[in-house]
Amino acid sequence: MGGHIMFAKFARIGAVAVTATLATVTASTAQDFQPENPQCIAPSNPGGGWDFICRTTARYLFDLGVIEDSMQVTNMSGGGGGVAFAHVSKERNEDNNLIVAASMSTSARIAQGIYEGAVQDDVHFLATFGAEYGAIAVRADSEFETLTQMMDAILADPRSVGIAGGSSVGSFDHIKPMLVAREAGLDDVTKMKYVSFDGGGEAMTGLLSGSVEALSGDFSEMLGFLESGDIRIIGIMAPERLESFPDIPTAREQGYDVVGANWRGLYMPAGASDEAKEFWSNAIQTMAEDPGFQATLEEAAIAPFNNFGDDMHDFVAGSIADIEKLSREIGIIE
């Protein structure tokens, strides 16, 4: 139910944003600003979703000639992105040459108050350029053929199924299976066994080594292992089956009305100049419209999903409000 609301908002705001983009793109001129030694902070270790955002953005902005200097990608992990968030809002608030990778986890953690008193307006949310759905995977030789079988086992004994995720307790990776279990009728979803790993890659080794029974993560992280036949995806949290992967069942068709979409985007310091904010917003628009970039997204199983400017602000505010409501219902925050 909560997921439903989330997706409706996704679709609507997304559509508005795209039209707005097309209207303004020709009018925008921020040629007076050109960043020097631009930097993109990925608030995680290399290899995760945030890292992908920074690496891809750095490559395309430079290749497309949007920026003149090559962009340095810095990994600043810790506190589920909280270290980078505090670093940007407190120490580099006026840096015009800095952008930071963000995603659903960023808004989720702001909503849950994990970033020590941080609010949305501590930074300037620039744009989203893509979104992908969450999925639940098991090993190829697992006894669970369907999500229903797994949920039955969880209903019988919530501690019998260990679920690995790439970030800490209460994160979006953790919320997704809890939402499914709530739909399945589990009273206290916090009883479920969630094992936190450092990033999606480590969580995958946890699954493959047999330490846990299932993995909750983003679809793109699972793609390689799905193709190699190591894992089976028993439920994707999309409204309907993906065109390119018609064999993967959705959670919804198995009776759990949960849609979990993880957006990918960027933020920058709130105190940056207006010219800089406009420059970076335009830069990401240029990138999002590039066919090569769109192909990269498709390869990584990420769907285009664009929000810029005021739409972006409203979108993030809506996303934060949704998660806050969900977290309250589940019992993560009081």
Binding site: N37, S168, V169, G170, T190, S196, I332
Partner: protein, 143 residues
């Protein structure tokens, strides 16, 4: 005696550490072991070792005389001052003085120390900043 003082210090550290561990805030869900158990174990080991030092100290180490000790305190102070000076004066200027001081205190003539400081500072700047492209502290003069 030194080991006994060291032990006392270690004990104080252990108590402080265990206290600091006890005030770690819980999040809404805690794993079986929790965020405090490991720090408690570590604190206990520190405390036990410290007690051992107090009860069975090793032979006295050779501590420096007052003059050498002052040297070390001053050198540490210069290093701390260097940290504060970096963002204010920039890399090159701060480094000249810090290097010159250390070289001088290790027994080089003052003028030569300054030359060594200048050489070191400029040399590092060229290699690290101009060749390797690392970000060094920028002062008001841009270097």
């Amino acid at each position: 005696m030194s080991d006994r003082i060291f032990g006392g210090f270690g004990l104080a550290l252990a108590i402080f550490y265990i206290w600091a561990a006890s005030i770690i805030k819980d999040s809404f869900m805690v794993d079986v072991v929790g965020p405090r158990a490991f720090p408690y174990i570590v604190g206990t080991i520190i405390a036990l070792c410290s007690l051992y030092f107090i009860l069975r100290p090793d032979d006295e180490p050779e501590w420096p005389h007052m003059r050498e000790f002052t040297e070390i305190v001053f050198a540490a102070a210069v290093m701390f001052a260097y940290c504060f000076a970096l963002p204010e004066l920039g890399f090159v200027i701060s480094t000249i003085f810090a290097t010159a001081y250390l070289t001088w205190r290790l027994g080089t003539a003052p003028l030569w120390s300054f030359v060594v400081g200048l050489g070191t500072s400029v040399g590092i700047y060229v290699v690290f900043h101009l060749i390797l492209g690392l970000a060094l502290a920028e002062g008001p003069l841009g270097f």
